[in-house]
């Protein structure tokens, strides 16, 4: 979260913090958990990431800018939390003390087995093989349905970069899936 500094010149009073954060998370809790799930692949970790962001936001609320910038800030914080998780997993795997935990593998249940058909698994597996930024752009674009400008705000990059990254990501995905789209 430290690489995004959305500052506020006129912070809200401290007593408004809990209510504002609470309202934001009540409205967007499940969306944020879904976003984290799509990045880290298992639900308990996704919930942990969002919970950590929620706790952290209480401390940082006063220097988040205008209300329309709050949600992009929180989404960016969730993505940063996911990156940290994936980084730690990478370290643990290299040390040989953690196995599994790729997308959709740890939340197996009869219900999920039905939901995630073989075709969908292939798509998700191909998605995990993309570079991190391409994966994030595609998830923000095709799951959250954000515009290029909104994605640019969340990721802290230009709209042009979003456009080119999305195009390259889709091309790589099509190649992985052996499609001629």
């Amino acid at each position: 979260m430290r690489n995004r500094r959305l500052t506020l010149s006129d912070p809200p009073p401290a007593n408004q913090t809990a209510g504002a954060v609470g309202t934001l998370f009540r409205e967007h809790h499940s969306e944020l958990v879904r976003l984290a799930l799509l990045m880290v692949g298992d639900l308990p970790t996704a919930e942990d990431v969002v919970q950590d962001v929620y706790a952290s936001l209480h401390k940082r609320w006063s220097h988040i800018a205008a209300p329309d910038e709050v949600l992009p800030y929180v989404r960016a914080a969730v993505l940063n939390g996911c990156r940290s998780v994936l980084r730690r997993r990478g370290i643990a795997r290299r040390a040989g003390i953690l196995h599994g935990a790729s997308i959709s593998t740890e939340t197996t249940s009869a219900e999920n087995e039905v939901i995630l058909s073989e075709d969908r698994r292939q798509v998700l597996a191909a998605l995990t093989r993309l570079p991190r930024r391409r994966r994030e752009v595609l998830v923000l674009r095709y799951y959250l349905g954000l515009s290029e400008a909104e994605i640019a705000t969340v990721l802290g990059i230009s709209s042009g970069t979003v456009k080119s990254t999305a195009a390259r990501g889709l091309a790589a995905l099509a190649h992985e899936l052996r499609e001629t789209s």
Binding site: A46, E47, S62, L86, S102, T105, I115, T128, R132, L170
Partner: protein
């Protein structure tokens, strides 16, 4: 929209649909005393100097990790199903403070963050109740608290059990007594710590209670009993006696449920009476008599003698002191997980704790989950290192006395994952009252 975009959108939506609003873990209640902010300053631009290369390095590592994970997953998913289907608990509860000013707190397992502080029961005698044990139900939201009540006008000690729940908004419901009312069974002295265990289906509660049966003027020994309460009806079933040894004290320091909920795994310990009311869990004098056995007790036996169960494991040279025992779980899906103390120092202090998966059929060790050095000098007593199993028996929470307090963590992948909290040492070397 291209076919790739269609397929991607469909796959993402399908995976995201696993998140159901009604099953989401509640977020922690906002803490009122949290500082509102720490101002950002320009020097934080320095982060960017190393953040970009660090992120690039992380991306490379991530890519490698994902490729390795995907290739490993196919081979491992089947073998992991038996042991990883039950998610680790999200919360643990523990007792913080002393006497009437103490409180039960609910904390996040992943961060140690305080989720909620539980108000005491609304009872005229609330101040007289001592917290003896806590436990969590399999739903990860319902918790049980065992209180002891000793008053001058009571011949023994009463056990009061309350429950409370964590709501979707992160607050807790008031503590309400479970069906069946108080149980007058115990001794007026020390409680039987860490005994409360919720069945895997959440319908029964088991615990060991002190009993004054078989106490004579010549022998101050006493013998623990096991009580199972049906949480729906309040009906109690009790197993008592049969394992008594003349002149020796018999304690059941911990018990847990089997994975199918049909039996209890309990540890029986015998020792020279350390005092009129103390249990065998504590230290003992050099050369003192001490023995331990792990038993399985079928619930279908409907009560009676403890010998209606089956002996699973004995203390031996391989298991110098069995400190605790739990039902099926552990990385190998073994029959038993035992906490073994070895390297006796003096006065009941031990140097090493190992958590081992043991075959109940053969008594052989299948896997050592974790080893903890308890200090080369004085070591620790069994009460200073306490394990708590979740209802599935697959996950172990550890509270460990260090200089100046207790640390708390969980065992996984051969390591102790410490939480960033520390709790002060309790009087009388009592173990931490903790459950998940």
């Amino acid at each position: 929209m291209t076919r790739t975009e269609d397929r991607l959108q469909d796959a993402l939506s399908a995976l995201a649909s696993q998140v159901r609003d009604d099953r989401l873990r509640p977020l922690p209640a906002p803490a009122r005393d949290q500082a509102p902010s720490i101002r950002h300053t320009r020097h934080q631009n320095a982060w960017r100097a190393w953040l970009i290369p660090a992120a690039a390095a992380a991306s490379v590592l991530l890519l490698i990790a994902v490729v390795v994970a995907v290739t490993r997953h196919a081979a491992e998913s089947r073998t992991q199903q038996t042991t990883s289907q039950v998610a680790m608990p999200s919360y643990f509860v523990h007792w913080v403070g002393f006497g009437p000013s103490g409180r039960i707190q609910v904390r996040s397992v992943s961060t140690g963050a305080l989720i909620a502080t539980v108000p005491p029961p609304k009872s005229p005698i609330a101040d007289a109740l001592d917290v003896e044990a806590v436990a969590a139900a399999p739903d990860d939201r319902t918790f049980y608290v065992q209180y002891g009540l000793a008053t001058p006008n009571l011949a023994g000690r009463q056990i009061w059990i309350f429950s409370f729940s964590l709501t979707g908004s992160g607050s807790v419901t008031p503590q309400t007594m479970i069906k069946g009312g108080p149980i007058t069974n115990g001794l007026p002295g020390q409680p039987a710590w860490g005994n409360l265990a919720v069945s895997p289906d959440g319908t029964k509660l088991a615990f060991a209670a002190n009993s004054i049966d078989r106490v004579t003027a010549l022998s101050p020994a006493y013998s623990d009993k096991i009580i199972v309460i049906d949480l729906l009806t309040g009906q109690r079933t009790q197993w008592q006696g049969g394992l008594f040894r003349t002149g020796k004290q018999f304690s059941i320091p911990n018990l847990s449920w089997s994975a199918d909920g049909r039996s209890l795994i309990f540890l029986g310990q015998w020792c020279d009476p350390p005092g009129p009311t103390a249990s065998c869990s504590g230290g003992s004098a050099p050369g003192a008599y001490r023995d331990a056995q792990v038993w399985s007790l079928g619930i279908a036996t409907g009560g009676g003698s403890l010998t209606r169960g089956r002996l699973l494991l004995r203390q031996s040279a391989r298991f110098p002191l069995i400190a605790q025992a739990f039902g099926p779980g552990g990385s190998g899906g073994s029959d038993l997980t035992v906490a073994v103390l070895s390297g006796h120092v003096a006065n009941g202090n031990w140097r090493v704790l190992t958590v081992e998966d043991v075959s109940a059929a053969t008594g052989t060790v299948r896997h050592v989950d974790y080893g903890l050095s308890l200090g080369r000098g004085q070591g620790r007593t069994p009460q200073q290192v306490w394990l708590t199993a979740d209802p599935s028996g697959q996950h172990l929470l550890v509270s460990y006395a260090v200089h100046g307090g207790f640390t708390i963590g969980w065992i996984g992948n051969g390591a102790l994952h410490q939480l960033p909290i520390r709790q002060p040492v309790l009087p009388s070397n009592a173990p931490l009252t903790i459950g998940w």
